[in-house]
Symmetry: C2
Subunit: 397 residues, 2 copies
């Protein structure tokens, strides 16, 4: 991990290695040299996903796959994504060192463009692999400079020939938690039971721009005041709902944004996350009611547009059990946890059995140059991954 962290290292100790840049190529090349040393068969598909295969003894078995991504946020850290790839590499190295064969083949995957920073959307490689995203559409996506995914892949020599997607018997992904729960609880292994659903909204509040000095309080149509009331209410909605739901106003844009003007127009975003669809539906209802209430009919207009609706995605219960049992047998402290963020494993769970292993990260920080994790936790997660893969692939000797 520390070798990869040098590729795109930032002054503040983080990593900036955007998808399909030259730095991404250097990291991919380094990965290839490592898996070649292990004797893996390598294939690259047309969206640039790299799969390194360690053959199994039984040609009838579906592969047991693990992996994650090597691209980072612009001010990213050393662990997000990279940990899952390197944990998988360590699993393969350990099996080679010990001379262990498995019945099923093992595959280690590097997904293209998980972060979605240079090219939108996020989780592009696993989305195409699982048929959730269209290959043709994704190849045409452009960055801000008008460079397409297709030409960026060609430019770094990772425009592979293989058609994306093949059956997978079990997919495991190790990842830092990116939140503070495990650290706060003092627990090493998060047994991830699924990923939360998400609903995203764009909201516009229209009032009337007027002079802050000359407009009496009772004549105002203050869009920022209404937006602030809504922000306070949005926070309450998740607190009242409980059950691990989350609600956030992350973006607010005020017009004309001048000290002496009562704001006439505010754009804001609202985001709800939760483990169950009915919770999200109830939160949406609360949001609509709040907008009605704060519009004070005739004074302010709220327009609400839902811009994303991602269903909660449970992981495959038997595989979740495999992870839990592995942690148990290795005597690591562990707890069930839900993923609040998206991961390649979420797309993989739509196409076949999948599960995830979380390890704590310092202060819950991620997408941040200060991202950090303890060696012993990273080792614990890797041992759980090893044991889980051996269980699914069946260890022969």
């Amino acid at each position: 991990m520390m070798r990869l962290a040098e590729i795109g290292a930032t002054a503040r100790g983080g990593v900036c290695r955007l998808a399909l840049t030259d730095l991404d190529r250097v990291a991919r090349d380094q990965f290839l040299s490592w898996v070649r040393e292990l004797g893996c068969e390598i294939s690259i598909d047309t969206i640039g996903n790299i799969v390194a295969r360690r053959p199994g003894a039984d040609p009838a078995r579906l592969p047991v796959m693990t992996g994650s991504h090597l691209d980072t946020q612009p001010t990213g850290g050393k662990f997000d994504g990279v940990y899952g790839v390197m944990a998988g590499l360590e699993v393969m190295r350990t099996l080679n060192d010990k001379g262990i064969r498995t019945a099923a083949p093992l595959e280690l995957v590097v997904w293209t463009n998980e972060e979605g920073t240079r090219f939108s959307p996020i989780m592009m490689g696993s989305g195409v692999f699982t048929g959730q995203l269209s290959l043709d559409d994704m190849l045409k996506k452009q960055d801000r400079d008008g460079v397409s995914v297709q030409s960026a892949l060609a430019a770094i020599g990772y425009d592979g020939k293989r058609n994306p997607g093949h059956p997978v018997g079990a997919y495991f992904e190790a990842h830092i938690e990116q939140g503070p729960i495990l650290e706060n609880e003092g627990i090493s292994i998060g047994v991830v039971t699924g990923a939360m659903g998400q609903r995203w909204y764009d909201i516009e509040v229209i009032g009337l721009e007027s002079h802050a000095g000359t407009t009496p309080m009772d004549s105002r149509r203050d869009a920022l005041l209404a937006a602030s009331r809504l922000t306070v209410r949005v926070n309450e909605i998740a607190l009242e709902k409980g059950g691990n739901t989350r609600s956030t106003v992350g973006y607010m844009d005020v017009h004309p944004n001048s000290r002496n003007s009562i704001p006439g127009r505010v754009h804001l975003t609202v985001e709800f996350r939760g483990p169950e669809e009915n919770m999200l539906a109830a939160m949406e209802q609360e949001l609509n009611q709040a907008c009605d209430r704060y519009s004070e009919p005739g004074k302010l207009d709220f327009s609400i547009r839902r811009v994303a609706d991602i269903k909660p995605q449970p992981f495959f219960p038997p595989l979740v059990d495999v992870v839990r049992n592995a942690a148990q047998e290795l005597s690591y402290t562990h707890m069930e946890i839900l993923s609040g963020a998206g991961h390649d494993a979420v797309y993989m769970a739509k196409a076949g059995p999948a599960a995830m292993i979380f390890v704590p990260c310092k202060d819950g920080l991620s997408h941040n140059e200060l991202e950090d994790a303890k060696k012993e936790d990273l080792e614990a997660g890797t041992n759980v991954l090893l044991r889980s893969m051996l269980c699914a692939a069946e260890m022969l000797e």
Copy 2:
């Protein structure tokens, strides 16, 4: 007024005529040709203020002055400032038409750069005239292109020779209200008793930027949530205080301002206005208490900086009475009103007797291309100005 509105007319029916631009020169030239027709003596001072003097019969009397400004906001209207200048011109024309002499001389002034849009600060000409602002400092002020006030004055030929400032016996300024009170009350004349005090604050809220999906509600340090609570509270402060106080959050800047990030930092402005200093002091205390409360010690930091402290400025009561009596004698509906905005008359009130006359404007709109006012109200205000000036200057025949 409609002739002046052509100079810098905008497509939406407003006016853009920034201080000391070529358009300002055209408007000033037009003004000069009008006052020359009336036989006025013209002087221009070193900050560009134009004074047109109609001599009085008694050389011992101090002048009775009126006027306002010809510069506008970038998306300004036809009435803000221009009305006060043209009402004064109409007063002089009427006296000439009727052959009326006054004991005191009358002066009609066009103040330089009231709006403060191209060159900061606002009310530059009257500030220098009354010794509240330094001439040398003001001449050095630059616009965004690095052009100084001094060179802009020279470029349009309004770098006069006279030293700014001379004693004035009484100063009256007619102006649109720029707020909705008179219109809502159905009243033609606002007898302005003074200008509100103002306190401005810059506030920074520091929390912790983190992932909106992975950070549980109870682990958040959400700077936008705290800023929203403060915005709601700021609004309550003026409502609770009553007595014509006003409180506004007009500006809010959110960092990183991303849908999926809990905001770690917010800048906002708070502005209080009120008729009495003790009210403003009490409001400031409430603001400090609110910041303490919403900081939830250890979670968020608020830094509060007071960036302006403008004392309430009463107008000269005998002159306010003159305005009230004039409206009364002319049988116009009238009411006392406080100015929530700054005006050149506020600086003039620091150096000598001053008062203002407000007339209603449509929907209370100002600093807006849709600014509008009724002919009959503009006429009423001009008649009150005429009568007030005659009272102060003593009509001789």
